[in-house]
């Protein structure tokens, strides 16, 4: 039904720490890219009420 072992697997734990580092870096990277885009949008269209 599942692979729960209840034991500590040092190698797998190390892998999970790698996922943590890469995952947080990835989230920040995407968010920074979105920030740049929003800043650019605000710069070029901000203040204009183009309705």
């Amino acid at each position: 039904m599942n692979g729960f072992t209840g034991g500590f697997d040092a190698a797998l734990f190390e892998v999970s720490l790698g996922i943590m580092a890469k995952g947080m870096a990835g989230v920040f990277l995407v968010i920074l890219a979105i920030w740049l885009v929003v800043a650019a949008l605000n710069r070029f269209t901000g203040g204009k009420n183009d309705e």
Binding site: F13, G23, V27, L41
Partner: protein, 369 residues
């Protein structure tokens, strides 16, 4: 006598585990009605849990709902259209710095993933458990189902329960890691104007960026942003209202019942369920810690100091987290209005949690091959 024994023969088939599940169902219904904790989901989940655990009951309809809506990922995605239509990204667009807190407050996901691995869960289950920290039901369902986790029922219960418990979970953690002086930092709100063009282009560009960097998040973020585009385009008012109300309510209703399919006693009444409930709490705590500590870190470099409590609003639980921060701010200083800053961080958390979900899927898949 023969008639009576036939009539009650089903009762004799009743196991103690099923009894526990009836109790779990009753507790969920109690929390939904009396405590008003995520009632739209906990009530159908609670009722479904009771229905699923009656001996010899035909549950083909719930199984069909599960296979049609959750196994195919359809319900969480449809729900995201409704959520996207509900979200006003205005506070974030006018103050895009708040995006950073959404990213920082996903720390709990990855911390909990490692904690689950340390406790002996296999990587795909650990990833599904970690995603409870996304504080976002549809993302949790999407990821747990993607990895075919056997613990989907427990993960859903934890995800939705802790989302409702944000006002209880967050304040003591925020107070423990901030000083009174920090909590009193004032942040005047001077929003920049956000044009309609920005509001319309934002969901399209976010979908493209997230899809390009984390392709596994493209579907989730795409449906969320599609809902937001319906809201912001200005020509689909009626559809936007339908998505926010009818669609979201209807999907939520069947989603709760469908999740109950994974709340069968043999899957749910295990020691691992208790561990998952504990890990869910860890995830929410470390999300909060991540957001607050990141704000304190930024304060080392910023001239205009940030109230570190705003970082805690970076978790996706919308709008509870921003309300919690606003209320704590008012407790420390009745003239400190943090709501709009917190709302910006909070909607950023909605985006970041989906991206984190996509990244978790990609990274774990790479390892599992």
């Amino acid at each position: 006598m023969g008639f009576l024994s036939d009539l009650f023969s089903n009762l004799l088939q009743f196991t103690w585990q099923q009894g526990v599940m009836l109790l779990v169902g009753a507790v969920l219904i109690y929390l939904a009605i009396r405590r008003q904790m995520e009632p739209a989901l906990l009530l159908p989940m609670g009722f479904g849990a009771i229905l699923m655990n009656l001996p010899f009951v035909n549950t083909a309809a719930i199984e069909t709902l599960f296979n049609a809506g959750i196994a195919t990922e359809l319900f969480p995605l449809l729900l995201f259209i409704g959520i996207g239509a509900m979200i006003d990204f205005g506070p974030l667009l006018s103050n895009p710095k708040m995006l950073l807190f959404g990213a920082a407050a996903q720390f709990g996901i990855f911390f909990t993933l490692s904690a689950a691995v340390a406790l002996g869960f296999p990587l795909e289950d650990a990833a599904s458990i970690g995603i409870i920290g996304a504080a976002d039901g549809p993302t949790s369902i999407y990821v747990a189902n993607y990895f075919h986790s056997s613990y989907q029922g427990a993960i859903m219960v934890a995800a939705y329960s802790y989302m409702a418990l944000v006002p209880i979970v967050q304040p003591p953690i925020i107070k423990a890691i901030t000083t009174k002086k920090e909590r009193q930092i004032r942040m005047p709100y001077t929003p920049g104007q956000v044009s309609r063009t920005t509001r319309i282009l934002f969901p399209i560009l976010v979908t493209i960026i997230a899809g390009a960097v984390a392709p596994k998040s493209a579907e989730l973020i795409g449906f969320l942003m599609f809902g937001n585009l319906i809201r912001e385009c200005g020509v689909l008012g009626s559809l936007s209202q339908t998505a926010q109300n009818v669609l979201a309510n209807l999907v939520t209703l069947v989603l709760g019942l469908s999740v109950a399919y994974k709340m069968q006693a043999e899957l749910f009444v295990t020691p691992q369920t208790l561990m998952i409930l504990g890990l869910g709490l860890v995830a929410f705590c470390f999300d909060t810690v991540g957001g607050v500590l990141f704000a304190k870190f930024l304060n080392l470099f910023c001239k205009k100091k940030i109230n570190p409590m705003v970082g805690a609003a970076g978790i996706s639980a919308f709008p509870m987290a921003s309300r919690v921060v606003h209320k704590l701010g008012l407790e420390e200083d009745p003239y400190n209005f943090l709501l709009m800053h917190a709302a910006g961080a909070n909607v950023s958390g909605q985006i970041a949690s989906v991206i984190a979900g996509g990244l978790v899927i990609s990274l774990v898949e790479q390892i599992l091959g």
